[in-house]
Amino acid sequence: MSGADRRAIVGNSANGFSYEEALLFERSRPGREGCSLPKLDVPEADPAAVLGADALRDDLEGLPELSEVDVIRHFTRLSTWNAAVDLGLYPLGSCSMKYNPKVNEKVARLAGFSGAHPLQPIALMQGFLKLAFELERDLAEISGMDRVTLQPAAGAQGELAGIMMIRAYHEHRGEKRRKVLIPDTAHGTNPASAALNGYEVIPVPSGADGLLHPEEIERRMTPEVAALMITNPSTLGLFEEHIARIAEIVHARGGLIYGDGANLNALLGVTRPGDLGIDVMHFNLHKTFSTPHGGGGPGAGPVGVKNALAPFLPVPVVRRLGGQEGEGFTLDYDFPLSIGRLHANFGNVGMLVRAHAYIRSLGPDGLRRCAEMAVLNANYLLARLRGVYHVPYDRPVMHECVLSDRHLDGTGITTLDVAKRLIDYGYHPPTVYFPLIVHGALMIEPTESESLEGLDRFVEAMLAIAEEAREDPELVRTAPHHTRRTRLDETRAARQPVLRWQPEEIA
């Protein structure tokens, strides 16, 4: 028996320190526990006597029995199966996968933030209210908005809130507008948020230069249209140069402009959406303001508005006390025109603390430098990759650049293959096949966190893959080769969904 064969049967791992890991339920052994409880200092209560035997469950189906060591090893091993920003460049376009400063994690874990309750007396949460007040003020200044709500739990919920405020604004004016204009480059959340508000979505095509043109808006901007949703810079990484003219058209016909703030990173300290005619926008704190992406969340999606929309903000609203009221902060609920409440509490406060810490760490110069470096890095990548990869809209970009696989035509290699091969070079792939208007799109956002040598190494990998596509396409088509799993069968997953583990006798 060869060494490899033995390793498959005995020992800790068949592949050295690269561990396979079973499911929690397969590791479970009867009688193991991973927690301890103090001695009960009150009389036992018999649940059957208190609640009635009928009200009780017999067993905790589906929960495993494991020791603390089992659990720690399990999740530590799982962690080694993930790509992450702290391991390397993670150039996922439109997601701003920048470095997450460690001090943010530390401050969010201070007991006064992590152990406090949303319904505790106002007098006992003054530190939080001050932080929230300052963060609202700073986000308003950064965006050029008048007021900010911190409540939405994510960018998509922020969009929902923003569109609700737009709807409330029109209804308050006695206008029934039923349509929302959305460019063809928009994130999918935009039309979904509009639809959740009962709006009909009218797509707007981008021009041949990738930009949104005033004529296209003019043509569609009827009295039925409540708003235009716009992402600036767009998902093509392009600054919407005609934004001011477009805003004039929309405003002249009674509409409002919603700004998707996903790409705000490019604008920090350079220009402000509020100065460009945007009436309401959301911020993705997990993109622009460095709160960690957490494997898919939690994010946070505060929303900024111009004064005209302020009466419709969700409640409660943080207010600084003044005059007779004395010092400090309070929560106001008395907003008769408010769209209401979006969250059980104040939103994702832990993320607000981190974003506040980030803004405080950078200050005005740091914020602007952040935008400058992000834009510099994206343009550098574009300059180095142009020619080898097709650039569908070849213009100066902001924080991200969009390439396509067209130059690989004839090799049989597509964007998906390039993405998967990048994994073998140690990179998380860019966003792929988005925006939808670019066939085979590769949307690359390096962020300001990357150094020049880091960018050069990424470029070299991209160039090497283009060569491989011509010399050894099979190598690229079957990538990744150096991961613990090769390409996964998504068709099988969708055709025969297995969405939970079940013991073998059932499954």
Binding site: Y433, E490, T491, A494, R495
Partner: protein
């Protein structure tokens, strides 16, 4: 350019559905071109027998791993038969789109509506227009 099977005995719609007349009924499915464009089909949602569809309106939904499309009624009428096997075997649409992958059968309510369907040359042109 990929090769698409377009059988001689069928008529077609602008939305890449095929229809076959069986007595007073029209059997409906999607074309080889459509199934190739969609990729691996994972789910087909069809209306119950007895529901009434109108020409040009969606009667169902077809999903691949990464895309979802509406299915549009080629004619108006009552749904008299539904291919319930697709619920468990959506792959039939990929493997045999003109046979086991059929979707519904509609009782024709107006012969006039059949005028709007495409014949083979017209549909081939329609496919070629989009696949260069």
């Amino acid at each position: 350019m990929a090769d698409y099977d377009i059988p001689d005995d069928l008529s077609f719609t602008n939305e890449d559905e095929w229809v076959r007349r069986e007595g007073n009924n029209l059997v409906v499915g999607i074309t080889d071109f459509a199934q190739q464009q969609l990729g691996d089909i994972v789910f087909v949602e069809l209306p119950p027998v007895g529901s009434v569809v109108s020409r040009g309106d969606p009667f169902g939904v077809i999903e691949s791993v990464k895309a979802v499309s509406d299915l549009y009624a080629p004619v108006s009428g009552e749904v008299v038969d539904v291919n319930t096997d697709l619920a468990d075997h959506p792959e039939a649409v990929n493997e045999d789109c003109y046979g086991d992958g059929w979707m519904i059968s509609i009782a024709i309510s107006s012969e006039d509506e059949l005028e709007g369907l495409m014949d083979v040359p017209a549909y081939r042109q329609h496919v070629d227009d989009r696949s260069d």
